[in-house]
Amino acid sequence: MLKGKVWKYGDNVDTDVIIPARYLNSTKAEDLAQHCMEDIDKSFASEVKKGDIMAGGWNFGCGSSREHAPIAIQASGVSCVIAASFARIFYRNSINIGFPILECPQAAEAINAGDIVSVDTASGIITDETTGETFEAKAFPPFIENIINKGGLLPYLKEKLGE
């Protein structure tokens, strides 16, 4: 069970604001985390606490294919992202690195910044403990669930290739 305070953003949060390209000359997760979201929220990187939850609107993570984006969010301490929808490369990247993301338009709209939210990733149940509302995110198809359970795409592939 994941539980934390919500950092809420709007629609079309793009990977350029999640981690601006001027910081992509590093591949270190901790370097990237220091600058996560800074172009739209200067306070995020310094104030985010381990376990906090990020919420966004439609098309979260659109733009560049940089895997540095989910890596930066994950390394900042955020435990999962809830959004109305995800841009497809961000969606793939998150699954591939084993970072939990939940697609749930109702939760994405109703949850307020600063609410305390708990998430059961196995069942997809999202509970806003501040307001008492509960939501159910779309379940992953079994194929993707399997990749996540194996710890990401490469461990899955290793097993498949019998190496």
Binding site: D16, T27, D39, S64, R66, H68, I89, L153, E163
Partner: protein, 420 residues
């Protein structure tokens, strides 16, 4: 048997399946796996951490060091060194480094590395460009690239499709860029989310191969998984003498299913721009005309090809860039740069007051070679105008065609090339 789209047919063939349907999760064989200096080092880390020691086929991996090159700082030099060493260790011959490198999505088609019927992944979102050649080609992340390098395989959700029917002939100074900006304005930045954009219609015959590269390139800006064009005489002519594998031509079935059909009469389009801060924030150039600018960039994987430089030259030749405007011209590959030199375009650009750069993605992503300060505004032929994309979070990017960019450079504000 249900009809399939062109994209679905390519995916079925590469998955070894007689048919696939939208929503199916499949594993497909890859013809080419691509990465650049930003994404490849992350992929190498993932590849090595998982304990892989061999790539599936060194001839099918392409590494183009194009984003921060020639290296802008020590950290980016380290990234290039990591990628270079990996290529050497694994015998990857398609390593494009300073001196041979061009912007990847102009370079791969030019070098004949990609062609009709291919299934391609690239750790760069604009990998969808090669759909212009009738390939399935999509942008992925670094872990996907690592998986592709290790196994030659990756997983895909078979996309449903939007059919884009193009008819008519574009008027003067209306190009592929105007077509795709108009389309993104119509369907929105997530209008094609998870879907393929399948371009059809007799209007395609009136679009050059460079127009089609530009259109397929920005499918991602509508959220699309890929954009794809049929293989016609224009494509066959382009790949002749470049592409050494056997092209495989796929056609959509008559009864293929589409979620939506968008019809665009090319003859009705006007030069189009996208105002800050979303590519879907489109206006006709006449609606935006007069907005003051400080910078123009003509280049990128979207619009740095020879026909883009020619149209810019036709406007800039013998004229002077407006006072207070910096105009940066970046030929997308070395071959394009040389061709532009031979045709006298580079001389014209320099005489007009432009700065001409060696191929690099540079300013498009606010990397180097034209980063903007607060309160500055640019008209650029690049592909994204998000907050902070080309520099300070208070700078602004207006997306446009090379013709509009060149006209704006002369005017010092957003300008209609037809009014010159």
């Amino acid at each position: 048997m249900m009809g399939m789209t062109m994209t679905q047919k390519i995916l079925a063939a590469h998955a070894g399946l007689p048919e696939v349907h939208a929503g199916d999760l499949i594993e497909a064989n890859l013809d080419i796996v691509l990465g650049n200096d930003v994404t490849t080092p992350v992929a190498i880390g993932v590849f090595e951490k998982a304990g892989f020691t061999k790539v599936f086929d060194p001839e099918k991996i392409v590494i183009a060091l194009d984003h921060y090159t020639p290296c802008k700082d020590i950290k980016s030099a380290d990234l290039c060194k990591t990628a270079r060493n990996f290529a050497k260790k694994h015998g990857i011959s398609h390593l494009y480094d300073v001196g041979t490198v061009g912007i990847e999505h102009a370079l791969l088609p030019e070098q004949g590395i990609v062609g009709p019927g291919d299934c391609i992944i690239g750790a760069d979102s604009h990998t969808c460009t090669y759909g212009a050649l009738g390939a399935f080609s999509t942008g992925v992340g670094s872990t996907d690239m690592a998986a592709g390098m290790a196994s030659g395989l990756n997983w895909f959700k078979v996309p449903s499709a939007i059919k884009v029917e193009l008819t008519g002939k574009p008027g003067p100074y209306v190009s592929g860029k105007d077509v795709i900006l108009h389309l993104i304005g119509e369907i929105g930045v997530d209008g094609a989310l998870y879907k393929s954009l399948e371009f059809t219609g007799d209007g395609i015959a009136n679009l050059t191969i460079d127009d089609r590269f530009t259109i397929a390139n920005m499918a991602i800006e509508a959220g699309g998984k890929n954009g794809i064009f049929p293989v016609d005489d224009v494509v066959c002519e382009y790949i002749k003498g470049r592409f050494n594998r056997e092209p495989v031509v796929y056609e959509a079935d008559e009864d293929a299913e589409y979620d939506q059909v968008v019809r665009i009469d090319l003859s009705k389009l006007e030069p189009t721009v996208s105002l800050p801060h979303l590519p879907s924030n489109t206006k006709t150039v006449s609606e935006a005309a007069g907005m003051p600018i400080q910078q123009v960039v003509i280049g990128s994987c979207t619009n740095g090809r020879i026909s883009d430089l020619r149209i810019a030259d036709s406007i800039l030749k013998g004229k002077k860039i407006a006072d207070g405007v910096r105009c940066i011209v970046i030929p997308a590959t070395q071959r394009i740069y040389l061709q532009a030199l031979k045709e006298g375009l580079i001389e014209d650009f320099i005489n007009a007051g432009c700065a001409v750069s060696t191929p690099t993605c540079g300013p498009c992503l606010g990397g180097h070679m034209g980063v903007m300060a607060a309160s500055e505004r640019a008209v650029t032929t690049t592909n994204r105008n998000f907050v902070g994309r080309m520099g300070d979070t208070k700078s602004e990017v207006i997306l446009a065609s090379p013709a509009v960019a060149a006209a704006s450079a002369l005017a010092g504000c957003v300008a209609d090339p037809r009014a010159l």
